[in-house]
């Protein structure tokens, strides 16, 4: 997907334009997605896409440009445009790293690419989707529709290149499916959703996905609000990473420097409950965020963010690290339309013991959150959250009734201090957040 000649094209163009310092991130992907509805293949989507983002650094001024063309003249145009853009910006010290031997081998050893997945036939995806839809609708006449169902296979390549001789390569592929099933009773429709995303494709997984989606839809029937109050809350293995993920910019060193993180000035302070350990682990085999290098060409490295509740480290890209008097922690990424952003690799909340049911038995009563309705009510700068949620009201470990039309409100930084128990129940789908189900609170619940 990315020509082997790209490094020569890029460095050749930079030399011709007399640009001594530049780097680039090239990504390419290929996917096929089959959508099924009412026993038929309603859509097949297949495509190949590429993008090159170029950074030029001249007198410590940085400019960006992007293109989808990898022809030499297009690469040269992108370099020239990035240099022109740099002239409008103030100087901000930044270094492009030298190549480090062994990183390409380390990247390949992470096991993100399975050659046999490339030959997974479209016919297999279609059959999987048709079986999945039948499974979703089986066994209960209240299951009426599966408006969202897709089976997909995706492969990607990336290169990081620089005029300092860096040429890092990575590749990854995966396959999966999702289904959204509607159940209705008394005229009230509810949707249950299940997704599956792995490095390997299990041709029988439609049973598990379908069973989970229909069980979730049926379990929501008869949902009603709860009386308002302050209650403990359990986020399950899907909502826990979704919720925590909304506030991660607080751990960005860049955000702290710009006054947009409440963690500024709090290194070494207790910001979370005892026992809360949050680490970034780039080298987990096969994991969704694993990488040997970051988007600026720095080696990835494990990093402890929170250790037994104590705040230990920000995530830094190069320029932010320098400004803070530190160094890059290998957490820089190059945006699809330019710019450098801060990102994690695999963020892991150290699991505890037991499963979801063990958590639910701990408080006399709690709200189990199984679905978050939108994220617009979360503010990563202030930490405030006010969210519509769905789930179950639980008493003495038993689900009493499904819940909808309620909101939970509070502040993320208060919630961190009030995490009571972390389970070992983690979502096994591909993703960069390994956050187990946890019990926290109380939070304000309105209904």
């Amino acid at each position: 997907m990315i020509p082997d000649t790209l490094f020569d094209i890029f460095t050749g163009a930079a030399a011709h334009l007399k640009i001594p310092l530049a780097d680039a991130s090239c990504s390419a992907s290929r996917h096929i997605a089959v959508s099924v509805f009412q026993g038929q293949v309603e859509k097949i989507d297949q495509a190949e896409a590429r993008r090159l983002v170029v950074r030029v650094v001249e007198e410590q001024r940085t400019g960006f440009s992007f293109t989808e063309d990898l022809f030499p003249e297009s690469v040269a145009r992108a370099l020239a445009r990035a240099r022109e853009n740099a002239r409008w910006l103030p100087a901000r010290p930044v270094e492009l790293p030298l190549p480090r031997p062994g990183l390409n081998g380390a990247q390949e050893a992470l096991g993100l690419y399975a050659p046999d997945l490339e030959s997974l036939p479209v016919a297999d995806l279609i059959n999987f989707g048709l079986r999945l839809e039948r499974e979703c609708l089986s066994g209960d006449s209240r299951l009426i529709n599966v408006p969202h169902l897709q089976v997909f296979r995706v492969a990607g390549e990336a290169r990081h290149l620089s005029t300092r001789g860096v040429e890092y390569r990575s590749r990854a592929n995966s396959a999966g499916a999702y289904a959204g099933v509607v159940a209705a009773e008394g005229g009230q429709p509810k949707m249950g959703f299940s997704q599956y995303h792995r490095r390997r494709f299990d041709p029988e997984a439609w049973r598990e996905i379908g069973a989970e989606a229909r069980a979730r839809a049926l379990a929501k029937l008869g949902a009603r609000p709860v009386s308002p109050g302050n209650f403990p809350v359990v986020f399950d293995r899907e909502t826990a990473p979704e919720f925590i993920g909304l506030f991660l910019t607080a751990f960005s060193g860049e955000a702290a420097l710009k006054g947009m993180s409440r963690l500024r000035g709090r290194l070494g302070e207790k910001i979370a409950a005892e026992g809360v350990c949050l680490e970034d682990r780039p080298f987990l085999p096969g994991a969704g965020g694993s990488a040997a290098f970051d988007g600026e060409g720095y080696p990835a490295q494990p990093l402890t963010l929170i250790e037994n509740g104590v705040f230990r480290n920000f995530l830094y890209h190069d320029a932010a690290g320098r400004e803070a008097g530190a160094a890059s922690t290998g957490h820089g990424g190059m945006g699809a339309q330019g710019g450098i952003y801060t990102h994690h690799h695999n963020l892991v909340l150290e699991p505890g013991r037991g499963g979801l049911e063990d958590l639910l038995r701990l408080p006399p009563a709690c709200l189990l959150v199984t679905e978050m309705q939108g994220t617009a009510g979360c503010n990563a700068v202030s930490g405030d959250f006010s969210l519509g949620v769905q789930g179950f009201w639980v008493e003495r470990g038993e689900r009493v009734h499904p819940v909808d039309q309620v909101t939970v409100a509070g502040n993320f930084f208060d919630l961190l201090q009030n995490i009571k128990t972390i389970s070992a129940d983690v979502d096994s789908n591909l993703g960069s957040l390994r956050i187990p189900a946890f019990l926290a609170g109380p939070v304000a619940v309105s209904g």
């Binding site: 038929q40 293949v41 309603e42 859509k43 097949i44 989507d45 297949q46 495509a47 190949e48 896409a49 993008r51 940085t62 960006f64 440009s65 992007f66 293109t67 989808e68 063309d69 445009r81 990035a82 853009n85 409008w88 910006l89 103030p90 479209v122 279609i126 009426i144 529709n145 408006p147 959204g180 509607v182 949707m191 308002p228 420097l257 710009k258 006054g259 947009m260 409440r262 945006g335 339309q337 330019g338 710019g339 309705q373 939108g374 617009a376 009510g377 503010n379 700068v381 202030s382 405030d384 006010s386 969210l387 519509g388 039309q405 909101t407 939970v408 409100a409 509070g410 304000a444 309105s446």
Partner: protein, 465 residues
């Protein structure tokens, strides 16, 4: 960009697998973004994307592919591969000859002419504008510690060609200013933002009232910093004009797109002609408004933009349709086929969606509410059209106490169900305004406008503390 003879070849190759309709969406887009942060120019990026999307229809079954490789070989391969991947139960048919394309595309009347092209405006003008925003906001109050301002400009050239002989070309120019501020006190932080945009060139920035914009952002951030948290519970809510229109966009708009209706995944499926809202509500989706952010000359299926009355005095009159949706639901096409780029197939999407003016005043609405919440400025939101469950954040709110605006309140969220909230919009004002936004759905992120006058919802669940 590509000769019509090549486009014809691609369309024909796509029909060789028996497709009864083929369509090309060819795009070349240039965009730039200049950002100020921390009082300094922070980032400047620009670039171009070019590509072709090919859609094959077998009845209403879709095969879609796209590529950024615009040479003849890869394009014909794309068409051949798509045709070969038609899947089960789609019998091949003789590739009936499609209609020929004219050598040059038709160009629709341009309702959104550009007076100052981006290239004609000196780069320094943008820098000055963003620096002005930074200075004015910081000068408002010492608690304002951070300003982020971004100037976004995009020009999108599109060509749409299909096997029915349609061949049209359109140029779309977008300009947007995004300004946000952080107010801080004792470790507490609150944010506020305004994000105006127009189908216009650089004249949009020159004609903006930057003083008013900056004052609005600054005042809102400072006010919310000093606000107590909103009380949660069910109560009357008066929603402010302009971006308050997100309530209709989420609670109803998505559920009226045929992409949801055709799959029976809309709570309003099968309800044309029925009363679904209070009689005071008339709602429109209009793609023809000159210069308005969500407008187009043609949609992304090549149809002229239209004005569509969705709800008339409470009665559902129309859905928003695309070619596939119109065919499956059995409704007229409304010129609503849209997509983020060539990489996605088009589906029916909103354009400029608004609740039309009504007879009430804001004072009357507050008085009728008694005690409740005045959601003066909304944030974003989302919806599940299959269940009608929606949510949105409130950026700036005040309690309503004894029929008047009271103390500011922060951290409020509004949630509900579309079928319940529409009949409860019982009062609608006359102060209609529009605000630019971005909507994400099956065909990606597209520019949309929401709008409304101030209105009163008799009861909504407010998420608070």
């Amino acid at each position: 960009m590509l000769p019509s003879s090549l486009l014809e070849k691609i369309l024909l190759r796509g029909r060789e697998g028996g497709a009864d309709f083929t369509e090309i969406f060819l795009e070349e887009s240039s965009s730039s973004s200049l950002e100020l942060l921390d009082g300094k120019m922070y980032a400047l990026s620009s670039g171009t994307i070019r590509g072709l999307g090919l859609r094959l229809l077998y009845g209403t079954k879709v095969r879609y592919g796209h590529t950024s490789r615009l040479e003849e070989g890869p394009l014909l391969d794309l068409a051949a591969n798509l045709a070969a991947a038609r899947g089960p139960a789609l019998p091949p048919a003789a590739a009936a000859a499609g209609k020929h394309l004219s050598p040059e595309p038709l160009r629709p009347e341009d309702r959104h002419p550009v007076r100052v092209p981006a290239a004609a405006a000196p780069a320094g003008d943008r820098v000055e504008m963003l620096q002005f925003c930074d200075r004015r906001i910081r000068a408002f109050d010492p608690s304002l510690t951070q300003v982020n301002a971004r100037c976004l400009e995009k020009e999108q050239l599109v060509w749409v060609a299909n096997s029915e002989g349609l061949y049209v070309h359109d140029r779309r120019t977008y300009s947007r200013l995004m300004v946000s501020a952080v107010a801080e006190r004792g470790g507490d932080r609150q944010t506020a933002s305004e994000n105006p945009g127009r189908r216009a060139g650089f004249e949009f920035f020159r004609e903006l009232d930057l003083e008013d914009l900056c004052a609005t952002v600054a005042r809102r951030a400072v006010t919310m910093l000093r606000a107590e948290y909103a009380r949660g519970g069910r109560m009357p809510v008066v929603i402010g004009n302009g971006f308050g229109g997100v309530i209709f966009h989420e609670s109803c708009g998505h559920s009226l797109e045929t992409e949801a209706v055709r799959k029976q995944a809309s709570v309003f499926a099968g309800k044309l002609g029925q009363a679904i809202a209070h009689p005071v509500v008339t709602a429109v989706d209009d793609g023809t408004l000159p210069g308005v952010w969500g407008s187009t000359n043609i949609d992304d299926e090549g149809l002229p933009a239209q004005r569509t009355v969705l709800i008339e005095r409470g009665v559902l009159r129309s859905y928003l349709s695309d070619r596939v949706g119109a065919g499956e639901v059995g409704v007229p096409r409304t010129g609503s086929g849209r997509r983020e780029s060539y990489s996605l197939a088009p589906v029916a999407r909103m354009r400029n969606t608004y609740i039309d003016r009504g007879p009430h005043t804001l004072a009357e609405m507050l008085a009728a509410a008694g005690d409740g919440l005045y959601a003066k400025t909304m944030g974003g939101g989302s919806v599940n059209p299959a269940t009608g469950e929606f949510n949105f954040a409130v950026q700036e709110a005040y309690e309503i106490k004894n029929g008047a605006v009271g103390a500011p309140r922060r951290g409020a969220t509004l949630i509900g169900k579309g079928v319940e909230v529409l009949p409860r919009i019982s009062m609608v004002g006359s102060d209609l305004e529009f605000d630019a936004g971005t909507c994400g759905a099956a065909s990606g992120s597209v520019p949309t406008t929401v709008g409304q006058p101030s209105l009163k919802v008799d009861e909504l669940l407010v998420g608070g503390r």
